[in-house]
Symmetry: C2
Subunit: 334 residues, 2 copies
C-alpha cells in the first residue's frame, strides 16, 4: 500500500507517520511506501526509514507526485490560522488551492484512493442569527470566524463532492485543539493551551491570557492521531454520511487544566502560570467552540482523552523521546 501524507514534517503529521510505520499496515494492508510531502524535510528518524519517500516543496509544484498511484492519502498540510489572518493570499493558496491541486491530481490518477482530510473545530463560530451552542455537534451549522476555518470548511464540502462523484473515497475529520504541543510559544491564539502546561514543566514562568472559566474541547496528540487512523479505516456505512465529523474533544476548563498540572507536577510548577488577561486573545477565544458533543466519532469507537491529567502524563512520557529538548521537564526537578 502506497500512502501519501501531506504535512508529514509537522508535529501531528510526523507523529502519524511514526504510528503508521510502527504498525506497518493500514486497514490490514502492508505499507510499502509512505510519501511525505511538506514544505520542510521530515525529521531524521522518518527520512531514514526505507519506506519513506520525501517530497519537499509546495504542493502546487508537485504535479508529478500523483504518478505514484497512491492507495491512501492523509491530507494534513496547512498554513495555520494566525498566518492566514495576516496574509489572506497565503490562506487561499496554501489551504484552498493546494487542496484543489491535490484533489485534481487524485481524480486524474483515476484509482479512487481513500483520503482523510484534517479539518478543524475552527469551522465553528457564532454569527448574529446563529449563536454557538454550548457543545458543537456534527450537525451544528458552521460559521467560521477566520479565513483558516473558512477554507477548511470549503475543502470539506469539495471533498464530499469528489466522493459523491466517485473520484475519491474522502472523509473529513475536524481536529480539536491539540495539546500539549512541544516547542516554543508561537503567535497562534491557541498557543497558550499548550504553553500553560509546557512552560511551567520546563521551569519557565508564563501567563494565561484568558479567564480560568474558559472551556474548550482539546485532544492529546496520540488521541488525535488515533482518530485520523480510525476515520480512515471506517467503512462508508459506519461513517454515517459524506459530511465532515468532529473528532472527540475533552471539554475542559482552563482552571481545571491547571489543577491537573498541580496534581501531576505539584503546586510549585502550577504557580509558574500567572493569569494576565490579553483582551485580543480573550476576544478571539470567546468566538471559539466551548465544547464538542460526542457524535459520529463515538459511533466509530472514538473517545475523548480520559482526563486532562492523562494528557499531561502523555506529554511527560513523550519528553523522554528523541527530538524533545533535554530541559523539557527541568521544572519538575527543582
Amino acid at each position: 500500500m502506497k500512502i501519501l501524507l501531506t504535512g508529514g514534517a509537522g508535529f501531528i503529521g510526523a507523529r502519524l507517520a511514526r504510528t503508521l510505520l510502527k504498525q506497518g499496515q493500514l486497514n490490514g494492508r502492508a505499507i510499502s511506501e509512505l510519501h511525505i510531502a511538506d514544505l520542510f524535510a521530515p525529521p531524521s528518524d522518518l527520512s531514514t526509514d526505507p519506506r519513506v519517500r520525501e517530497h519537499t516543496g509546495q504542493m502546487l509544484d508537485q504535479a508529478k507526485l500523483f504518478e505514484h498511484g497512491f492507495d491512501a492519502v492523509f491530507h494534513l498540510a496547512s498554513a495555520v490560522s494566525g498566518e492566514c489572518e495576516l496574509d489572506f493570499e497565503l490562506g487561499l493558496r496554501s489551504n484552498l488551492d493546494s487542496t484543489r491541486a491535490l484533489l485534481e491530481g487524485l481524480r486524474k490518477a483515476g484509482n479512487v484512493p481513500r483520503l482523510v482530510f484534517a479539518s478543524s473545530v475552527a469551522v465553528f463560530g457564532p454569527d448574529a442569527a446563529n449563536p454557538l451552542p454550548d457543545l458543537v455537534a456534527d450537525s451544528t451549522l458552521p460559521s467560521p470566524q477566520t479565513s483558516y476555518g473558512t477554507h477548511k470548511l470549503m475543502c470539506e464540502y469539495l471533498i464530499a463532492d469528489y466522493t459523491r462523484k466517485g473520484f475519491i473515497d474522502g472523509r473529513s475529520a475536524r481536529l480539536m485543539t491539540v495539546t500539549v504541543r512541544p516547542g516554543k510559544p508561537n503567535g497562534a491564539a491557541s498557543s497558550f493551551f499548550s504553553g500553560i502546561i509546557r512552560e511551567p514543566l520546563a521551569g519557565v514562568e508564563t501567563t494565561c491570557p484568558v479567564d480560568p472559566d474558559v472551556t474548550h474541547p482539546v485532544s492529546s496528540p496520540s488521541n488525535t492521531v488515533q482518530g485520523l487512523i480510525t476515520v480512515f479505516e471506517a467503512s462508508r456505512d459506519a461513517l454515517g454520511g459524506r459530511l465532515a465529523l468532529n473528532l472527540p474533544g475533552l471539554n475542559v476548563r482552563v482552571g481545571d487544566m491547571l489543577q491537573a498540572l498541580e496534581d501531576v507536577a505539584g503546586l510549585q510548577v502550577r504557580q509558574r502560570v500567572r493569569f494576565e488577561r490579553d483582551e485580543r486573545i480573550a476576544g478571539i477565544v470567546a468566538n471559539w467552540a466551548r465544547g464538542a458533543a460526542t457524535g459520529r466519532a463515538a459511533a466509530l469507537g472514538l473517545r475523548p482523552d480520559a482526563s486532562f491529567k492523562t494528557i499531561i502524563e502523555q506529554y511527560i512520557a513523550d519528553c523522554s523521546q528523541p527530538g524533545y529538548p533535554a530541559d523539557a521537564l527541568q521544572g519538575m526537578k527543582r
Copy 2:
C-alpha cells in the same frame, strides 16, 4: 452609482436589469451605469439603454472589468445544475473559479462594494446522518447533492469571509426554484416545475415526471427579483449575520400547482398534463428540499408569493410583453 450584474443576459438577470433600470435608483442612489457581464449579449431592450455597458465573454477573461470601480454587484452568473453534473470541470471553472476571480477583482479595486450573490436552495439535501427536515431553514446544515450546490455553498462561505475581512459587503441569498420560466423544456431536473404550466398554456401536451404529492418551495420571477433587491438594500444589522439566507419560498404540492392551473385556465388546459413517472428525475427530486421555512428573509419584509395561482397569473401577464413568443398562451384560446 455603477452596478455590475453578472449573468445579466439570463432570465432572472435580465428581469433584474429591467427592474433596476425602470426604478432608476438602488438604495436611494441614482444608477448611472449598469454593466452586464455574461457569456451572451443581453436582450436588445437592455443593450439599447444608454446606461447599460455590455461585457460579453468569460468572467475569467475580464480582468480589466474591475477598473470601473463598481459600487454594487449582483452576481447571478452560473452554469446550471444539470450541466455541472455532466461536466465536472465546467462547474469548477464557471461557478467556483469565476466567483473567486470576481471577488479578487473587487478586493483589489479596494472600494468595498456591496455584493449580492445568488445562491440556491440546492445547497440543501439529505446525508446519512443528517436527514432533510420538512422545511429547510437558514440554520439547516447544508448537504449539497450536486456539484452545483457544492460550489454555491463554497462561494457563500468565501463571500462571508471576504465580508468579515472588510474587502466587500457581501450577502448571499438562496433562490428557491423559479417558476414559471419561459422558453423550451431543458435538461434540468427542475424543468417540469415550469413545463407543467407553460406547455399546457401554449396548447402543448406534456408530462409530469413526479407524483402529485411531491412538494417543493418555489418563487415567481418577480418575487425572486424583489428578494435580491431587498437583500441588497438591507442594513447589515437587519440581515442578521454574514451567513447566507433563504429567499422566501411558496411550499406547494405538484397536485395543487395543477389545480391552480385549472382554476386560472380551465380543465381543458390542465388535462394537457399527464403523470408519467420518470424514475431518474423523481429520484433527484426526492433529494431536494420539500419546503422552506420563513426566516431571516421574513424579518426583511420578504414574503412568499401569495399563491400558486398568482404565480400563474404573473406568467400570463408577462406573456404579453416583448420577447415572449406570440403563441405562449395559444392553449387558452381554444
